[in-house]
């Protein structure tokens, strides 16, 4: 159990951090609580990561949509602890992610971080393929605009 938690925590943290931003820690905790409570119901061990990913994405979108009363960090605010790599670049990525909706961030994570196709992304998010396509197009457009010098 402890080893499984060690293995899953960074995986879930990456998904929830990118989608839920400030609510990422809460989303990661809720995801893993659900996973550990339902672990015995998992029939196919090979499907573990896909199963966890689906729960994490849905929980992160839900957490990001929930009103917290906390203001979104303004551009230039501190980078979250734990962001890998160059803090300046990490801060830039975060600032761009803040300009997207939780749904758009979720699609970016599934398509660009995990390389899932549109059909699988649509299944996880419970939307039509066309919706995935249009949201992805808009999200990538924001990124291109922000990253172009």
């Amino acid at each position: 159990m402890s080893q499984l938690l060690d293995a899953l925590a960074p995986y879930v943290g990456r998904i929830c951090g990118a989608i839920a931003l400030d609510a990422g820690d809460d989303a990661a905790q809720e995801t893993l609580l659900t996973v550990f409570r339902r672990l015995r119901s998992l029939r196919d061990a090979d499907a573990l990561h896909a199963w966890v990913r689906t729960i994490a994405v849905r929980e992160a979108v839900r957490a990001a949509r929930a009103p917290t009363g906390a203001p979104i960090a303004p551009p230039g605010d501190e980078v979250r602890p734990g962001a890998p790599g160059d803090p300046e670049v990490a801060g830039d990525v975060r600032r761009v992610l803040e300009r997207l909706s939780p749904d758009q961030r979720a699609i970016l994570v599934l398509r660009d971080l995990y390389d899932l196709d549109e059909t699988e992304a649509a299944r996880i998010l419970g939307v039509a393929r066309g919706t995935v396509k249009s949201r992805l197009h808009r999200a990538r457009a924001v990124f291109r605009r922000e990253w172009t010098p």
Partner: protein
């Protein structure tokens, strides 16, 4: 080409949050968490010092010996006041310790909360009917927290 080229923000869970998750997968675990009125260094100075600290605050542990050590993985022998000796595997990191044997598991986690420390602890026995022991174990843990808090306040003075 991916629109994403830079590093992504990642969520991190402190040891107490991780312990809540671990316990969710152990249906018979007796679990408690509390904010102790002592700094993290004091609390973990006692709780993380398995050989010297554990017998001071765990009511049923008479002695604990580390027999093997490989980075954060330990082989541990625990002797109870009833004379029972058990060998367990443990993982020990700052703010985190989980010990697992054939029939039981024990864990403790600590995270700073301002000048104080959030501390979590569970015990789980994997034998039929031991779920009935939960209220008893939780009651004992409550008293152990009080002992640990007192020791942690004195630690390093």
């Amino acid at each position: 080409m991916s629109a994403m080229t830079g590093p992504w923000p990642a969520a991190e869970l402190d040891p107490v949050r991780r312990m809540r998750i671990l316990v969710a997968g152990l249906p018979h675990a007796a679990f408690r968490e509390r904010v102790l009125d002592a700094p993290f260094d004091g609390v973990w100075g006692i709780a993380g010092d398995l050989e010297h600290g554990t017998p001071q605050w765990k009511q049923d542990v008479a002695a604990l010996a580390i027999l093997e050590r490989d980075d954060d993985r330990l082989g541990v022998e625990i002797r109870s006041y009833f004379g029972i000796r058990v060998r367990v595997h443990a993982v020990l990191r700052p703010g985190w310790c989980v010990m697992q044997g054939r029939i039981f598991a024990v864990g403790m986690a600590a995270a700073p909360e301002g000048e104080r420390t959030r501390f979590a602890h569970f015990e789980a026995v994997r034998l039929p009917g031991t779920g009935l022991l939960q209220p008893l174990l939780r009651h004992r843990i409550h008293h152990e927290f009080e002992t640990l808090e007192r020791l942690a306040q004195r630690h390093g003075r």
